[in-house]
Amino acid sequence: MLEFTLRRLAATIPVLLGILLIAFVVLYLIPGDPAQTIAGPRADAATLARIADEMGLDQPVHQRFLSYLKRISRGDLGGSVVSGKPVLESVIEKLPYTLKLAALAMTFSIVLGILAGIISAITQGRWLDRICTVFSVTGISIPVFLSGLVFLYVFAVRLKWFPSSGFAAEDSLLPFILPAFTLGIRSAAFLARIVRSSMIEVLNQDFIRTARAKGLSPARILFRHGLVNALIPVITVIGLDLSSYLNGSVIVETIFDLPGIGRFAMDAILQRDYPVIQGIVLLGALVFIMVNLAVDLLYAWINPKIRDEMLGRLAR
């Protein structure tokens, strides 16, 4: 298992390099010049040239990429060209907001999604299943910016149950509940569909009939035999959602005033703040890779068959 993990980790290096290269080339290709953001509306040619020189923008692109790689291999993500603040420091400052939001959103998503999925599966075709289906289709279809604004208006502005922004109470979890619900409800809806179909498939298999025949309690059949076997596709979806939450959710962070990674990235893109964009892309890629790895390991843990396959492949 350790060897598997190490190999998977080693395999991430070319993936990271590829992502960095793509990000670098895209930044190089899009129009807009960070020197102009820094220099403002009265930027004479000399000032622009000086700033470009300072940022190394006048060097050829491959040289810039190489010196960038050299820098990050030392663990130095560089500093924002606009504010001068180290990228890593800014990310660490913003991470708590994104983590909190991601954690709460995942909680909503997992609890609501799996519950609704199981209910749907065991009441298949009956009215409770239909209600769950209507809710989950609605949840999937409504875009986050709309549901976010509706929740904000109803629960924060009208009913005043929750603060309308992350500013109102920095130390509590309260301002995170509405945004997390907005994010979570959407993936809960998606998850419910997957849990439902996966559960129905598993519950129709022979070993479940065998378990029933053995006289096991319905709860034990459902959770110990049914749910665990239905979890594989569910974990994949959870992993994907978690990685995207950890990379920040621009729309939700904007609507609910949370100073997280998503808004930070968006501002950097608009200002063409290259070091910040690259730093966030790198960290984002790392998060994706790590979560994927965790998901793979989780598969192996849940399903010994997969573990054996993995180890067998390694042995070959």
Binding site: I30, T47, E170
Partner: protein, 532 residues
């Protein structure tokens, strides 16, 4: 079941870790100050460094934390701030400032002339890389300092602890106005090392009426009144300035009573104006700006003055102002907005005159079979589309075909600076209330391209007229000279002059005495009061 427990535990740990990282210290306020003002900015002020700030959001925070030698008060009069008094030599080349004594920075350091010399020198210091070097480029020795040939600016000297002399290489009458700009705010030279590694600007301090007590980037900046302020002290105890990028969100927050002011846009102006409860609390502020369609004056079809003049005459400005701004703008007859030196009412010969416009176009060789067709570059924002679609429709009636090219802001600036855009919808906002600010940067050939002269307008006579005008010390005569230049440039019609728009603000019932001068972004909130 174990797995579900595991994931729940994982989530709990993440939440706890996040909570630990998020705690912030509480802040107390001095008791003689009253009320808390809740304001907002549309984006995080990325730079609170006076030498590096370039936008209004940055300026509005800097103005409350720092002081300059001089400033504009709410009646737009230039008054002393850190300078108690000043004299200008008869030839206009030397300014001597007497500083106030007993002025202290927020950390207790006393202000002396060395802080002034240090702060002004920084702007020209090549290692700082300030985008605002132009503010002091007329100072003696500025070029040598910028090139790194000298380690100080020869023209800026401390005569004694409380006297500073600034020598100019040539007379430049608007210089005092430039000194009021945020770029020239004074920093504590005692914190030089933190200033040079930029860590100082995370929570910078100056001598201003407010101190930054808390700052969470992309969330808020909290300012508390400075009890040791050297001038008339602020009335407020605190200002909470939040960062709210979404207009709709700001509107919601205002209506929930969480904000004390709201900037209005054409899209929501009507709604608030028609509600008597709100209408009385709306202030329209004529601001220092000009909106225009710039032409690339060097390339076809806009290298032909007849085409440029014709397009000016084909635009019915009043109609668009009525439709989009509900009348809160005045037609532009030049680049200089009303309220500052150089503005004069009256005709510039480019008013709406479709017959003459069509005649000129015909003379330039355009007809129904060969219509004038061009790309109009613009920002891809709702507010820009509102204008450009109307223009497109209006001009189509006269046989002119406009293709709109919406672009993201950075890309647009790039295309315009490089001269790739044949025509573009943009605006110019003043940094200081002097007509020079609407002539030299936008039409002098030395500012070609990104320097502000985006229209690539080049005319030696105009260049010389601008250079001569800034040497005139007498304010009235200088204003007349600006006015003549403004008219002269209009003859060449380098832009379609559109309008000078007002900005509109809605304030909460608790707020009074808010500074709504055109230079309000540099307001230090001394008069502002908020009922508790």
């Amino acid at each position: 079941m174990k797995r579900i427990l595991f994931s729940t535990a994982f989530v709990c740990v993440m939440v706890m870790a996040a909570n630990l990282l998020l705690s912030t210290p509480a802040e107390t306020n001095p008791s003689s100050f009253r009320g808390v003002f809740s304001g907002y900015l549309s984006s995080e002020p990325s730079n609170l460094d006076p030498a590096r700030g370039v936008d209004v959001n940055e300026a509005s925070i800097q103005a409350k934390v720092f002081d300059g030698l001089v400033r504009y008060d709410e009646k737009m009069r230039l008054v002393g701030n850190l300078a108690e008094s000043w004299t200008v030599s008869p030839d206009g080349k030397e300014l001597v400032f007497k500083l106030k004594q007993n002025v202290f920075f927020h950390d207790g350091q006393a202000l002396t002339s060395s802080d002034v010399v240090f702060s002004l020198d920084r702007i020209l210091d090549p290692t700082v890389g300030s985008p605002r070097t132009w503010v002091l480029e007329k100072v003696e020795g500025a070029t040598e300092r910028m090139r790194g040939e000298s380690d100080r600016v020869a023209g800026i000297t401390a005569v004694d602890d409380y006297t500073v002399s600034i020598k100019l290489s040539a007379p430049f009458a608007p210089f005092l106005c430039l000194l009021s700009m945020p770029a020239c705010y004074i920093l504590p030279s005692g914190s030089a090392s933190a200033i040079s590694d930029r860590s100082f600007f995370e929570k910078p301090f100056g001598t201003g009426p407010f101190k930054i007590t808390e700052r969470v980037r992309d969330s808020h900046i909290r300012l508390a009144a400075n009890a040791a302020y050297h001038g008339t002290r602020a009335r407020l105890a605190r200002m909470d300035i939040r960062i709210i990028p979404e207009n709709m969100k700001a509107e919601m927050e205002f209506e929930s009573g969480n904000l004390d002011m709201l900037q209005l846009y054409p899209a929501n102006y009507e709604r608030f104006k028609s509600d008597p409860d709100f209408a009385a609390r709306i202030t329209d502020v004529p601001s220092l700006n000009v909106f225009y369609i710039g032409f690339n004056n060097q390339t076809a079809p806009f290298d032909d003055v007849r085409v440029r003049r014709a397009l000016n005459m084909l635009v019915d400005r009043e109609k668009i102002i009525k439709a989009v701004y509900q009348g809160r703008a005045v037609s532009a007859n030049g680049s200089i907005p009303p309220g500052i030196s150089g503005y004069t009412e009256g005709s510039n010969g480019l008013e709406y005159n479709p017959e003459e416009g069509r005649r000129l176009l015909k003379e330039a060789g355009y007809s129904k079979d060969r219509p004038l067709t061009f790309d109009l570059y613009q920002r891809s924002s709702q507010s820009a589309f509102e204008i450009t679609r109307l223009l497109q429709g209006e001009l189509k009636k006269h046989g002119v075909v406009i293709n709109l090219k919406p672009m993201e802001w950075s890309a647009l600036k790039d295309a315009v600076s490089k001269g790739e855009a044949p025509a573009f919808y943009m605006s110019w906002f003043g940094d200081y209330p002097d007509g020079e600010n609407f002539l030299f940067p936008v039409f002098h050939s030395s500012n070609w391209g990104s320097g502000g002269n985006r229209a690539r307008f080049k005319n030696e006579e105009i260049d010389r007229m601008i250079e001569d005008s800034v040497k005139i010390q007498d304010a009235d005569r200088r204003s007349e000279a600006y006015s003549r230049i403004n008219r002269k440039i209009a003859e060449h019609a380098p832009w379609i002059y559109l309008w000078h728009a007002s900005e509109s603000y809605l304030t909460s019932k608790k707020v009074s005495n808010m500074d709504f001068s055109p230079m309000f972004f540099c307001d230090n909130a001394l008069t502002l009061t908020v009922k508790e």
